[in-house]
C-alpha cells in the first residue's frame, strides 16, 4: 500500500490513518464509506445507502463499472443479489456484465429497451430490501431521466437502505438529485510485478464533481481485495491537487 508523502501530510495525520486502519482490521467494522460527509471516519452510520451517479468518460471504458462494483461487492458477497438493469443501447455499445470477471456474484440481470423502463425497474428493485444494490445503466441524456426521476430514486434508496448507482454513458451532467456525482476514467495500470510488459492492477481517476454530504475532489482509485483505496495524486500522475490537508482517503467496500 502506497503512502504518498505530500508535504501537507504531517506525521500526525499519518499516525491517525495508520491507527484507524489498524483498528479497522482488528474490529472489522470498517464498512463502505470513504470519508462520508467530509470526514476521514469509519463510522458506519454516517454513510447511508443512497443514489449516486457515475459518468463514464469513454463509452467502452469499464472503469465506471469497476468503480460501482467495488462499492457493491461486499454486499453481494454477503449473499444479497445485485440487480443490474441495462438499456439496450448500453448493452450493445458497452457490453454486458461478465460473471467470471466479477468473481461470480449473485446477480439478477434485466435488459430493457428504454430509459423509462430502467428507471421503473430500479424503483421496483429499491423497494426490495433483500437486494444488495441496484445498478442502472442509461445511455445518453434521456428525457425520462430528469430531476424528479432521480429524486424518486434517491428517496426510495434512502428509505429502504438499498444503494442505487446510475452509470451514464455518452451523457452530459444535467440536473439531477443524485447525492454524489462522479466522473470516472481509466489511468494506465500499475506495474505487473511479474511481467514488465503487461498491465497490472487497474487504476482509475475518480472525480467527484458534485456531492451533498461531503467535499468534492479528485482521487486516484485503486481497487484492492479489501476494498477501494483512494488517494490524492500519485507519483507520476499529473493530477491537480485540489484537496486540502487530507492525504489519503480510504474506503473498504
Amino acid at each position: 500500500m502506497q503512502h504518498p508523502a505530500t508535504p501537507a501530510s504531517g506525521p500526525r495525520d499519518a499516525d491517525r490513518t495508520a491507527l484507524l486502519r489498524d483498528l479497522a482490521q482488528r474490529t472489522g467494522t470498517m464498512t463502505q464509506g470513504y470519508g462520508a460527509r467530509g470526514h476521514d471516519t469509519t463510522d458506519q452510520d454516517i454513510h447511508q445507502a443512497t443514489l449516486a451517479e457515475v459518468f463514464a468518460e469513454t463509452v467502452t471504458d469499464a472503469a465506471a463499472v469497476g468503480f460501482v462494483f467495488a462499492h457493491l461487492e461486499a454486499r453481494s458477497r454477503a449473499g444479497k443479489p445485485l440487480l443490474w438493469v441495462q438499456d439496450r443501447l448500453s448493452r450493445r455499445e458497452s457490453g454486458q456484465p461478465c460473471l467470471a470477471g466479477m468473481g461470480d456474484p449473485a446477480l439478477l440481470y434485466l435488459e430493457v429497451s428504454r430509459a423509462t423502463d430502467v428507471l421503473w425497474a430500479m424503483e421496483e428493485g429499491l423497494r426490495c430490501t433483500d437486494l444488495g444494490g441496484v445498478v442502472g445503466e442509461v445511455w445518453g441524456n434521456a428525457p425520462a431521466l430528469d430531476f424528479t426521476a432521480t429524486k424518486r430514486l434517491a428517496l426510495r434508496a434512502e428509505a429502504h437502505g438499498v444503494p442505487a448507482w446510475l452509470i451514464r454513458r455518452a451523457a452530459t451532467p444535467d440536473l439531477s438529485a443524485a447525492r454524489e456525482r462522479w466522473r470516472l476514467a481509466s489511468l494506465p495500470a500499475a506495474q505487473d510485478p511479474d511481467d514488465a510488459r503487461a498491465p497490472g492492477a487497474p487504476v482509475w481517476r475518480a472525480d467527484l464533481f458534485r456531492a451533498r454530504w461531503r467535499a468534492t475532489g479528485q482521487w486516484v482509485a485503486h481497487p484492492e481485495a479489501a476494498g477501494l483505496r483512494m488517494e490524492h495524486g500519485q507519483a507520476g500522475q499529473s493530477l491537480p491537487d485540489t484537496g486540502p490537508a487530507r492525504t489519503e482517503n480510504r474506503a473498504a467496500g
Binding site: 469513454t58 467502452t60 471504458d61 469499464a62 472503469a63 463499472v65 469497476g66 468503480f67 462494483f69 443479489p81 440487480l83 458497452s94 457490453g95 454486458q96 456484465p97 461478465c98 460473471l99 467470471a100 470477471g101 466479477m102 461470480d104 446477480l107 439478477l108 440481470y109 434485466l110 435488459e111 430493457v112 423502463d117 421503473w120 425497474a121 421496483e124 428493485g125 423497494r127 426490495c128 430490501t129 433483500d130 437486494l131 476514467a185 481509466s186 489511468l187 494506465p188 495500470a189 505487473d192 511481467d195 510488459r197 503487461a198 498491465p199 487497474p202 487504476v203 482509475w204 481497487p223
Partner: protein
Amino acid sequence: MTGKDKLPVLATPPQTPAVQETPATTPATAPATTPAAGAATLPATIARHEDETKAGRAGAAARAVARPEPTPESPSQGQSQGQSQGQPQSPSQSQPQSQPQGPAQDRDATARRILALHFPHFAIERWLRDATRRGEALPDDLPLALATDGPHGPVIHAVNRTAAQAGVQPGARVVDMRALCPGLRVEHADTGADRAALDRLMLWMRRWCPWSACDGAAGLVLDSSGAAHLWGGEAAMLRDIEGRLAVLGLTARSAIAPTHGAAWALARMGGLREICAPEALAARIAPLPVRALRLDADTVLMLQRLGLKTVGDLAAVPRISLARRFSRAALAQNPLLRLDQMTGRLAEPVNSPDDPPRFAVQSRLAEPVQDPTPHLPALCTTLCETLAVAGFGARRITLTVYRSDGEVSQVSAATSQPTRDAAHLCRLFDGRIERIDPGFGFDLITLAASVAETLATRQTRLDTASDDGTGIARMMDRFGARFGTQALRAPTLQDSHIPERREAWTAAMMASGAQAPEATATRPLPARHVRPLRLFSPPEEVRVIYAVPEGPPAQFVWRRVTHRVTRFAGPERIAPEWWRVPPGARLRDYYRIEDQTGQRYWIFREGVDGDGRGAHPRWFVQGAFA
C-alpha cells in the same frame, strides 16, 4: 357491485371426484345394497352437473372453468351399463388384490372397453414440435438423434426418420452411430419434460372419456366404457383420436379391447385401429408373441427358450404348473399374472388420477362497464380465499373479460413462487388492464388461477419482517408482468472455458421455480487467467497490425478509433470444445492489452496463419477490463 354475493366460486373442490368412487367398493361384494348405492350416487352426479351448467355461461367460460365432459349422460350411461350387468367395476379402484375371489367367477370381467394408445416416436416428435415453436425447425432430411447419458457415454434415445433410415438405432452409443452417420445431429433428450408432456396429454385425452391414465413412458390407457357411442362408435372414436393427435404432431397407434393387457398388446402388435370384441378376445390374443404380455426382457427370453413363443402356447400350459413355477415372481416377471390380466381373469382397472383442482371466480355485472379495475381487488380476495381453503397458491393467473358483443380478451400474469396474497396478485395487473379494448363494455369478468401449486402455510419468523427471498420473488413477478417472464435473468457459471459459454443466462423465474437446472459444480479458473468485467456479445471484429504469424497486436482500429497497444499480456490460448463444435473450429489466442489512453481490452485472434482451417486469422474485441 363488489358485493361478495356477486362472486360465485367456481372451483371444483378436489374431493368432488370422490363421488365416482362411492359405487366402487360396496356393490361388488354385496349385491343387496346395489339399489341403495345407486340411489345415493345418482343425486350426487346430477348435483354436480347442475353446478356445471350453472357455472358455464359461454362455451369458452365453461371450458375455462369446468372440466369438459363429453356430455352429461356419459357417467350415468356407464353406471346403467354397469348395473345392468350387476357389477359396476370402478375405474378408480387401485388394488385388484383386495377383490374377493368368490364372486369373481360369475362376474363378466371383459365387460369394459379399454382403449390403449401407443406413441412410437413420442420423444422425437415432442422435440421437433418444441423446436418448431422456438423457430428452429429442423429440415426433414437432416438426421437427428436424442441422447441420454449411459454408463459408457451418451446413448441414443430417439431418432428421426432420416436417422433411422441411415441406420441409427435407439440404444446404441452415440460414438458408434456417429461413425455410421457422420452428419448426425445429437441433442439432449429431456425425459423429464417428456414425462410432463405425457401427463398433460393424459389430461387432455379426457375430452373423449373421463378416465385416462399414463401407461409406460410413451403410452396412455383410457377406459372408454360407455363413451364410444358419443363419438359415433368405437371405430369413429379411434379415427377421431388419431386425427387430433396427428394435428398435435404425434403419431399414435390405438386399439380397443376388453382388458388393459389385450389393448396394450393390440396397440403395439395388432393391426391398424384394431377393435377386439369380448367374445373374440381369446382367439385374438392367442397368436400374439409372448412379449405382448408386458413382461421384462429376461422373462420373455426364458419363455422363448422353453418353447413358449405365443400367448396361445402359454395359455395351453396347465395352470397349476405355471403357478408353481412363478409363484413368487413379481408382476413384470410373472407370465401367469400377466396372462390373467390379459384374459380378464385378474382385474386391472384404469387407475385414473384426479383432475388437478381448478380455481376461478367470476363477477357478473348488471350492466356493461368499461374498466374492470374496481372489481379486481374483490376478485383477487375471493380467489385467494379459495386457494387458501384448498391449500394452494397461484403460479399463473388469468383475467378474462367477456365483452357484451361476444369478444373475449385475456390478460395473464405469472408468479415465481406460489402465492395467495391478494394485494400482490392485484398489483401484477398494474398497467396491463388498460391494454384491453373495452369496446362497448363487458359484463362478465373471470379471474382464474390457471396454474396452481400446493402452498403450505408456514411461519418462518416471529416478527413481521418479510421472509427471506419473498421480496425478491415479488420483484421478479412484477418484472415478469411488465417485461415478460424471460426478461429477468440470473446468470450462473458453467463448466466451460470458452468465455461466452462460461456463463448461462437462464431466466430467473425458471431458476427459482420447480424446474431449476441442477447446479453443476464449476471448476474455478486458475488465478493467472484474468477475466474482463464486461463482455461484448457477439465479439466485435477489429483490424489489427501484428507480427505475422503469431505476434502480439501492435495497433488496432475499433469503431473507427485507432488504439495503440502500449502494454499487453498473453497470449492465453483457448482451444475450441472439440466435442461440441464442428471439426473446422479455430483456436483463439487472447491478449489482455492496454492502449495509449490507459483503457484495457481483451482481444483475440481466431486461428493461426497456416492452420489449414480458413483464410487469414481475424481479430476480435471481446471484453473490457476495469
